[in-house]
Symmetry: D2
Subunit: 396 residues, 4 copies
């Protein structure tokens, strides 16, 4: 193995906790709390303000739950007030329903506040491109929370590919399998409702919800841009207005073929996000439900399993994300913490007018978010046109 | 679990060993020896005659290796002479290159000798249909060796599906992954050469070679007929004249969607044949490299793993195939032995003019063989037409 | 399965963050940071003060690293000052070398401050008993950080046993395997040095360090007290003054036999803590490196695997600890957070003069800590006497 | 990896099938049929004669089942008649109850017939030593059927150890876990009855039945002789006259410590025979229920998994036993076939007055059988004396 940890710098030490605000995440919502957990575990943030719900009563109650100092019922008001405070928030997390991301992000960016936005970035490509332009024009940080690529072993996988350890990449397969949509939606779970409502969800449902994770993972690990896709949408679970399953054939730059398959109606699958990449020298496989292990197989050699931890073949870019020693398992909370560590470093540097060493950070950018939106749009186009090939490369 | 072993009969006891002949399988060929191994392990056959190679020298040497009583250099001569002998062979195994199966099968069937033919049955649909007709007209036994569906746990999977334990089947996924075609073919391995020669292999290579196994497995486990497919062929390994990789989208009767994916160029995969079937009540998964286990997941229940062995939820149709107790692992030799057990029972009954109890045997028939040929043909058609949907249902 | 989630209360909501102080954990120490991480992730604590090192320079630098408000260089001074402050710490975490635990705990308890102490509680049985008495006399909370029993699936395992799902427990096996002591100690790793120094470590090394975890896990899951043990100590890694490996035969109340085996010199093992419990109706197995899964096997039934998450057979006592949905893996950080959640609830209730519902909390008590010390002592006695049986039941 | 397949010779080709006789194995017995299966699959034997039961009626019926040419009801008569025939048997398989092995083996050896004997070789050490002497005096072949060490991956494990890939061996752990004795014995299963009868089984039950397998596996893989053991016997399943569980502490030559643990009362375990060996450079693990894989871990390196098949790091001594390519799983039938292949080669060479190249064969010898008997005896002695250390080294 020619890969050795290089001398590249570690993350800078923690000197203070940045002030963080939240839009979305009130009682009954899961994902906002997961963001907060990642921020907390990273130890680089303190949650101080929030507009956790558009329902004022829930917003207030949730603000108390979160021990926030300042609670808002309206994100616009929050953006204005926080921007005006000397010790206002230094970044905002947006974890509201998808179709509201764009306006909220815009409101904060226009006030000079860095944005951490849940995926998908927006429901429409044009909105995503506007955010890309706004980010470029303002120079602010806009991060998108695809947390899975912040696992140390995914970073390890990426470096193996980029270092040529697989040879030339020849095929790429990703899948994300769940089972909760097998049954009719729980009427008490608001998220399930809007996820199947074309008015709000946009042109696709499962493809948006979990397909974007699979799409980003494939792009991140291989460094290759997906250029074309061909999708079939299906309803394999309880009857519903939008797809819960999508089979996508994919083509990456250089003509590399692949598949991307998502379903929310496969009993016995919870968050079965898996990637398999095969080159002409070796292959690799990773499964998010067993995130500590990376299977790596050189052709005609015994199998190799990398296990997260210092040493034992880990590369610098992965080592940097390690908190606990090998065998003390890390998991999803830790991946979110890694993500929030990178956001903090980027945002603190920007605020201090400092630059970050090239290659130090690898959080998903606004462009990565826009790529996902374009992918979903191309899948929907393809499906509606009878599953023909559609261009899905984002042109910024 | 409502499934319990029923009172159905066990296999009849062994009373004598049937005489078996072989065409193909000479020195340098693997699969003929695997057939012989299965026949031997079943204890219901004795190998007595063979035309193991078209090269007379190899035929004779191989015949000695196999300790055969009668060695031929020509299958036609073998068919005639054996048919004329009082103690001639009672069945012939055909494990020659694919494009020769049809003529050889015909030669033996016309002499009244039952046929056990390797897959794919033929390289052309019309040839397959002729064999189907010839079988029907003669009433002889024609079995096709898809061995994987003779694993006890595949029988268990099938019965779970047929008994409705998964609810209505909603999606079907099969894959077969190998890695030997990543590199240029070994010039000493004859099989690799003809597998990539369109003149001999027919319209597809990997799809023929391993796709037919995946196709049969999906059909066998679910009991559903595939009606349409849409294929993309790729070369992902060393350059070659025919595909080593195929991504196929599939549709089964009743509109059930699925995927079928095969590759011979995925480093670190050996014989990665896997099936995943999801219904509206439960799902199941089976992997031929770990054939003793069947993962079965009811929605919102703890996971269930069936382990091969008497009792513990095994159904009659699977129990019948069990030789060794739970924990004494069986594997591929045992699956081949099961197949040869069923062939022997069918052929002995036919020769004795007896009937076999309904449901006792489940070996792949000539129609199953022809279905596979039709599937390959439809994939090739689809690919050549730009990966459009093609009808792949066999009409006999 | 007769086990269903009962109506027992959930954990009370968070209303404020308790103020936490730390003794130990300065630069170069790992475990103090893991405590801090668990406290942070639980969201029920804020770290405000610390005496992180006995070296004043390190203490100050480490205090800055941790963003503490008040930094001390002496734990005694810290105890006095914090006790005197209106907003002084509400609990102290002790993560110093083992032989210092007792005096530090005493100093804080005498000032009325609740204590969270790393394992082993002390190095001598008499010291442990003094702390037990001091806790009883003061009525303060003393928790001991055996984090593994705060995994949801370990709670699930315990409830299965206590509910009689395994029948009568007949044998109990625990092991904890690591590999870092295979090689000579890293001279830069202070912890390795004192771990092999009988003057400081007490009468055993690996048995103290990881044996206590295995001991507690067995006790916790089965609810049975270990009454006798017989130990053999070995050095299987690089030469050293104390054992890195111990094979212990064990006997629990009711005459239940078992084994307990620990080593720090088994290459390829990182934190291989595993428990296997067998009753006359069923058995279970859990592995801390794959903490999300609990294998449960009823005799003559298919295998069952419980997967952490709401529903699907999880009992209330395990459900209560769940943060993320099934398939979003939790791991060691989450177990520590669970532990710190329980400490916070216990301490806040005590400070408020409230009682906690019976069965709500299950953190390791000072008596659990003392049991571990007694076990180590009995093992050392046994080994020194030629591996004879020794009583290891704690009499308080 | 410095290990490469050497130029050592392959097994000689098959030129004829040796004639094999059986004592034991009649209707209702399992193990005789497993022997026959291995012999058949090896293709180097034909079963021609047998005294399958001491009950004449069963002997005759079983002989018909087995399609034998010559059926006896008395082993003595069989030995005499077969020895007198020009085409009499060339070896006899003994798979009768343990306490009868010695007299039967003697009867055949005295007639000049090579012996293949099931384990344990005898129930008393003195009997075993007599067979050792008789073998030495006659120069005949006496093999003992410990089949697990005939798995290719166990041979691979052994060669890794012998080649020094693990460094100096520092600890050795074996276990064999089953669950069938959890419940009262099935009154229809004769084998269960005599297995718990001290008059017939000898001084130990589970230790004899499965402990000998674990003992031989440890010896085979490490090449080290066990010199001392200390055993505790338990009944952990249904009440019975002899132990169903034994915990043994072990010491090998050079002072290498270890554990050996067997139970037949651990629900959810079928044939859980596992070995773990740790040296000062690396460790290895193998599990007979997943016999195709060998986990090998160098200290501070990524994990390595060897998968059975040609190439990919397999050594000559393991390669030689490979029938099917990687990914076409072999299992227990194949291990038995390997054993019968080696017996055939040894016996044919002896009969032809030829020698076998050194290192070509590795079947368990009569001395290996005697070692197992001595081990069981030492365990029983140890247990009865209060679990003190007992010498268990065989002195021939």
């Amino acid at each position: 193995m020619s890969l050795v940890a290089s001398d590249e710098t570690r993350f800078p030490p923690i000197t203070r906790r940045l002030r963080l605000g939240f839009v979305g995440g009130g009682r009954g919502a899961l994902i906002g709390q997961v963001h907060a957990m990642g921020a907390r575990l990273s130890n680089r943030w303190q949650a101080v303000a929030g507009a956790l719900s558009s329902d004022p009563e829930i917003a207030l109650a949730s603000g108390r739950d979160w021990l926030l100092e300042r609670v808002y019922t309206d994100y616009d008001e929050m953006a204005q007030r926080e921007a005006a405070l000397a010790d206002g928030i230094e970044a905002v997390v947006i974890s509201t329903p998808n179709w509201t991301h764009k306006n909220i992000a815009e409101a904060f960016l226009k006030k000079g506040i860095d944005v951490i936005c849940d995926k998908p970035l927006t429901t429409m490509v044009e909105d995503a491109l506007e955010l890309v332009r706004l980010q470029r024009d303002t120079g602010l940080i806009v991060g998108v929370t695809y947390p899975y690529t912040s696992h140390a072993m995914v970073r390890q996988a990426r470096e193996l590919v980029l270092a040529g350890e697989l040879g030339r990449v020849r095929q790429i397969h990703v899948e994300y399998m769940q089972d909760w949509a097998t049954e009719p939606d729980d009427p008490n779970f608001k998220g399930a409702r809007w996820r199947r409502d074309p008015q709000r969800m946009g042109r696709a449902s499962a493809t948006n919800d979990i397909g974007t994770h699979a799409f980003h993972l494939a792009h991140f690990v291989t460094g290759l841009e997906m250029v074309e896709c061909r999708a079939e949408f299906h309803v394999c679970g309880a009857p519903k207005a939008m797809e819960d399953t999508a089979f996508v054939q994919t083509r990456y730059e250089g003509g590399v073929p692949g598949t991307l398959w998502v379903t929310q109606a496969a009993p016995g699958n919870y968050c079965g996000l898996r990637i398999r990449v095969y080159g002409d020298k070796a292959g690799l496989e990773w499964d998010q439900e067993k995130p500590e292990f990376l299977r790596f197989n050189r052709l005609n050699q015994p199998e190799t399993v990398f296990v997260r931890g210092h040493g034992a073949g880990m590369v610098t870019q992965a080592e940097r994300l390690i908190t606990l020693p090998r065998g003390h398992p890390e998991a999803l909370s830790d991946a979110w913490a890694n993500l929030y560590t990178e956001f903090a470093i980027a945002i603190e540097a920007r605020r201090n007018g400092k630059s970050v060493p090239a290659g130090l950070l690898n959080y998903p950018s606004v462009a990565d978010g826009a790529r996902g939106v374009k992918f979903v749009d191309a899948c929907a186009d393809s499906h509606e046109a009878g599953s023909v090939w559609r261009d899905c490369k984002l042109v910024i």
